[in-house]
């Protein structure tokens, strides 16, 4: 049985702390050699203001508010550059305080048949309990949390929903690996985790998402 293909994916890094959004301009990143000059020049700026900064390039989307920093990419060939960008920014802004970090992955799969798509939803959220209260109950979203084996000090949330990007029969699996640190060097601790755990986290998220969907499909067709 061939694997269910992933048709769209992305990764994002989210930091919670205190930021100065107006710094985060494409030109600033290019001036510090964090992105290519051409990428900075071609970037589409949504807004750069004291409360919020947001721009996109061909592979990067950056949104910063005063309490949250978000770097995203939908290009799997740029997962490592995304990590490097965040590491590089906070090597330069080493006094920026933040205490929480999410290393996240989104994956969208397409189930081979509508029946299989429904069966997966039913496997994850059995409907028997709901049928006495709702007509045609359907899974809109489910989230499970726990600690991943490779990083027992962190918290992992896995969300499964019908995909809005892949239609029809799309399944979205999103993983959020949450890390927290404290003390005056909390930010540096989180950057060390980002550097050392990025690849393992992304690989774990990928395998988890693929296994969930493929195992779900296998059980669905055998039931």
């Amino acid at each position: 049985m061939p694997d269910i293909p992933c048709e769209a994916e992305g990764a994002h890094i989210i930091l919670v702390g205190h930021f100065n959004p107006s710094i985060f301009q494409p030109a600033w990143l290019a001036a510090h050699d964090l992105i290519r000059k051409e990428e900075a020049e071609a970037a589409k700026i949504q807004v750069i203001a004291s409360e919020v900064a947001s721009f996109t390039s061909d592979w990067l989307s950056l949104v910063v508010t005063d309490d949250k920093f978000q770097a995203l990419t939908n290009d799997p060939s740029h997962y490592e550059p995304l990590r490097d960008l965040v590491l590089g920014i906070f090597l330069l802004l080493e006094h920026t305080p933040f205490e929480k970090m999410g290393i996240n992955r989104d994956m969208h799969f397409r189930m081979p048949t509508e029946e299989a798509w429904h069966q997966l939803g039913h496997l994850l959220t059995p409907k028997e309990l709901w049928r006495s209260h709702l007509e045609k109950p359907g899974m809109e979203s489910i989230t499970i949390g726990g600690s991943p084996k490779h990083a027992p000090d962190s918290h992992l949330r896995v969300k499964v929903e019908p995909s809005t990007r892949v239609k029809p029969c799309g399944v979205y699996v999103g993983t959020n690996q949450h890390h927290q640190a404290s003390g005056p060097d909390a930010a540096r601790q989180l950057m060390v985790i980002l550097r050392e755990k990025w690849q393992t986290s992304q690989e774990y998220a990928r395998v988890l998402s693929e296994n969930l969907v493929n195992e779900g499909y296998r059980r669905a067709i055998n039931s």
């Binding site: 050699d33 590491l87 090597l91 550097r195």
Partner: protein
Amino acid sequence: MPSLNQPPEPDQLEVSIFGPGVGECVVVHLGNSHWVVVDSCVECRSKRPIALEYLEGLGLDPASTIKLIVVSHWHDDHIAGIAEILGIAKSAKVVCSAALRRADFFTLVASAERAMMESPGTAEFLRILKTLEERAPNGSRVGSVAPLWAIANSLLLRLEPPVVPLSTEVQALSPSHGALSLAFQEIGQEFPKLGAVKRRTVAQSPNQVAIVVWMRIGDMRILLGSDLEEGKSPTLGWQAILASDLRDGGLADVFKVPHHGSKNADSPTVWTKIVKQDPIAVVTPYASGATPLPTLDDISRLKRRTSRAYVTAPPTGWSPPRRSNSVERTVSEVVRNRRVILGQMGHVRIRVHTTSLTSPRVDLFGTAQRL
């Protein structure tokens, strides 16, 4: 059929030389479960230091049997996994080249971590320093956890019967005093400079600062040449070793050929003045780089020097594993000379009873072969 997992007898000496294509490790049994580890490389599948895997495979406890660990120099291919060995063999003496006993080397190691651009060598050395730091109980004297800093003709270990079957001395023949100032130049090139781009450290050649280890076990001599190359002056490299009058006058029965058999490390005088005629000579390859070592010329030269020459792995590396057709098609259009450089471990094992030192037995495992 020799068994890989059969440990040596208490009165049996052993020299085991490991090399997987890039990297080397030598483990020596001095007798009575006293082991010495010189350098380290990792097994490609488990990613664990081969010295630990080997000793555990023999049913031995590395923590209690490893007595001496020599870090002959800081290059990537000689140091992989050595911090893990140090972490386990907590009571083993640790020896590093005196050429590294300088603030600028610590700066180099610290800068690689800060830059988040560690090469395997600097990352490993940082782990060594941190492991040694952890060994120090609170309030211990400054410098008490430092490694032994080896310089030419320094004694690293001396054991006498009945601790070991035969009177044993382990000595460093290098680095020479002349080499110490050269080390400053090599390390200094890698220093962080304001406004400079961050890069991984790439070790420079020639290598003058490595520790060459000389072992005298009863009447047997073992010469482990590390990566020491020939120097351009009498105060450097093998010339400095030959010029020393503090060296034990014996000739080596077993010779770990220096610097992967390269011409730069070859000294004909070493073969006549320090090494016995027709010794057991083992070379570990360096399958990476524009010129993998040993070259065909190097091999021919080695075979002229001794009839008992061995190599731990093919110097040309291995063919890369086949990936999907699409990947192979694209890759073949882009690159050339693609090869695996870190492959299956090769192991040359030399064992001899202390009662008959002139009859060693050589066994080959993995990719090791006779030249």
